[in-house]
């Protein structure tokens, strides 16, 4: 019953969504060079499945690599901001300003600095776009730690590192995972931005671009669905990690 509920309900929602999509296209009588319908997608996947596998893999690994960088850098930055008021006051406006810049404007900048290094540029963009939520939430999590939590260990002469390891870090984990869920989708946007905008790109973004160039609408929509699938995959990977490392924060539901 529980398993049926957990898998059946989302599956039904997806099927209803696809049916509505198909219905709208059919109702309006749109040809597939105007708007593809779900029934156009299987032929597109069948025709290009090898491209989807190689391009999908490229998009996936570069996104995960960028996300990994974002986790490391974001956590470190968050620690600095969480422990030092001066760092917090100094870095916040800079960070907010940087986050406000549309990342598309950075693509030509990166392309010029690291010319020809497509993989590196893509990973860098995925990282740049996704570290902000992690840094902010870790910073807030650490700076709002109630002083009593620190005092129970400090009064025993524990070092700052011990306090961080035993209390501050685990206590911040729920916030960290909340931010990571946001960052996962952001990282995908970063990867695809570079893949679509930069010439002779690779990955699903480039496949999308080639579909656009050739007026192959079913291919373009097939790429979008593939991207959504990868996004869901990574998101649930984060949820699984959260269950393992911060499952204690889940309240039993009555």
């Amino acid at each position: 019953m529980d398993l049926l509920h957990r898998i059946g309900v989302p599956l039904a929602a997806i099927l209803i969504f696809l049916a509505l999509w198909e219905g709208i296209v059919w109702w309006n009588g749109w040809p597939n060079y105007k708007m593809a319908s779900p029934s156009d997608l299987p032929p597109a996947y069948a025709r290009y499945w090898q491209l989807f596998l190689t391009m999908g893999w490229q998009t996936l690994w570069r996104t995960v690599a960028g996300l990994g960088l974002a986790v490391v850098f974001g956590t470190l930055l968050g620690m600095v901001m969480g422990f030092s008021r001066t760092a917090r006051d100094g870095l916040y406006p800079l960070l907010v300003g940087f986050n406000a810049i549309p990342k598309a404007t950075l693509v030509p900048v990166l392309a010029l600095i690291f010319i020809g290094q497509h993989d590196f540029n893509t990973v860098l963009m995925a990282f740049l776009i996704s570290f902000f939520p992690i840094a902010v939430s870790v910073g807030i999590g650490l700076s709002t730690l109630e002083p009593e939590y620190r005092d129970i260990l400090r009064s025993l002469g524990a070092s700052k590192l011990t306090i961080f390891w035993k209390i501050a870090l685990p206590k911040t984990l729920p916030e960290f995972f909340g931010a990571l869920k946001v960052s996962v989708t952001l990282a995908f946007i970063g990867t695809n931005l570079v893949e679509i905008v930069s010439p002779h790109g690779r990955g699903l973004g480039a496949l999308f671009k080639s579909g656009e160039t050739n007026g192959d609408y079913p291919l373009m929509f097939a790429v979008l669905i593939a991207l959504a699938f990868l996004g869901i995959l990574l998101y649930y990977a984060v949820v699984a990690l959260e269950r393992i490392f911060a499952g204690w924060a889940e309240r039993p539901q009555h």
Partner: protein, 291 residues
């Protein structure tokens, strides 16, 4: 023998944007070994600052804090702390929470011994069978019991408590007073309890110290003089009632509402006045100059 805790002429002020805010002014407190010192005083008079000073978490501007004949300048492992908020770690079970101080103080202690020690304490406070639960699965009173176990698991010389029972309902609170009494009977430690509850201070304390309003200094010391194995009934004896009256009057003075009492403007205040004048061998006057 020197007193275990000796606070000598301590003054402290916090720096605020509006200038220094003095919270303690020439405070003197001595607590003999294995006795229980309850500290009461008006709200915001610097009682919590006192706990942080004794724990070595901060240094006073002036004056000295001595523990066991040694001057306190930094945190010491021989101190245990409990707060109004039980501050249990949500990601640990109750047992692992109680063990936490041992991980810091006795990193080489075998796991088996740690568990044994923690379980013995949990048994004593009536939490046997709950050791595998998470803090969120326990009631407020049970969480506070676990917090007490954690505070003394490493056998500290001194237990410092900052209103540990303040957020509990009356019945739970009285239960915990008795738990506290039993814990002290089982393993003697010196206790400093900050509280707002006068009944609590008389039931648990060997001496009750009344702090004056901010900046706080020692205004009055009451030697309770009741046997260690008290029962809750003791609070309903005339002796305890007199002490409660006296403490209450002292709190009024500390709050700066002395005039209304002394002036006798209201008849109800007049009734309370005689208790203040009574001299009993159990009561000692303020010993501000004692060194």
């Amino acid at each position: 023998m020197p007193d275990l805790i000796d606070i000598r002429g301590v003054s402290h002020a916090y720096r605020t944007p509006a200038g220094p805010l003095p919270v303690l002014e020439d405070l003197n407190i001595s607590v003999p070994e294995a006795t229980f010192c309850a500290v009461v005083g008006p709200s915001g008079c610097g009682k919590s600052t006192l706990t942080r000073l004794v724990a070595g978490l901060m240094k006073p501007d002036r004056g000295e804090v001595w523990l066991h004949g040694e001057r306190v300048t930094s945190p010491r492992r021989t101190v245990g702390m409990a707060f109004q908020n039980p501050v249990l770690l949500e990601w640990r079970t109750i047992l692992e929470n109680v063990i936490l101080p041992l991980e810091i103080v006795a990193p080489r202690m075998p796991r088996k011994d740690r568990v044994e020690r923690a379980m013995a304490l949990l048994e004593m406070v009536g939490l046997r069978g709950f050791e595998a639960k998470r803090p969120s699965q326990l009631s407020g009173g049970m969480r506070q019991r676990a917090s007490l176990c954690r505070a003394i698991v490493h056998r500290p010389d001194v237990l410092i408590m900052d209103e540990p029972f303040g957020a509990l309902d009356n019945f739970t609170r009285e239960d915990l007073w008795q738990t506290m009494r039993d814990l002290r009977a089982a393993e003697p430690f010196t206790c400093v309890l900050i509280t707002h509850d006068l009944r609590e201070s008389v039931f648990l304390g060997d001496q009750v110290i009344v702090l004056s309003g901010r900046p706080a200094s020692t205004q009055f010391i009451l030697n309770v003089g009741l046997p260690a194995d008290r029962r809750i009934d003791v609070l309903y004896t005339p002796e305890a009632t007199d002490m409660l009256h006296l403490l209450r009057d002292q709190i009024r003075i500390a709050q700066g509402r002395e005039e209304t009492v002394a002036g006798g403007a209201a008849p109800r205040d007049g009734q309370a006045a005689p208790a203040r004048d009574r001299t009993s061998p159990a009561l000692s006057p303020r010993d501000g100059g004692a060194r």
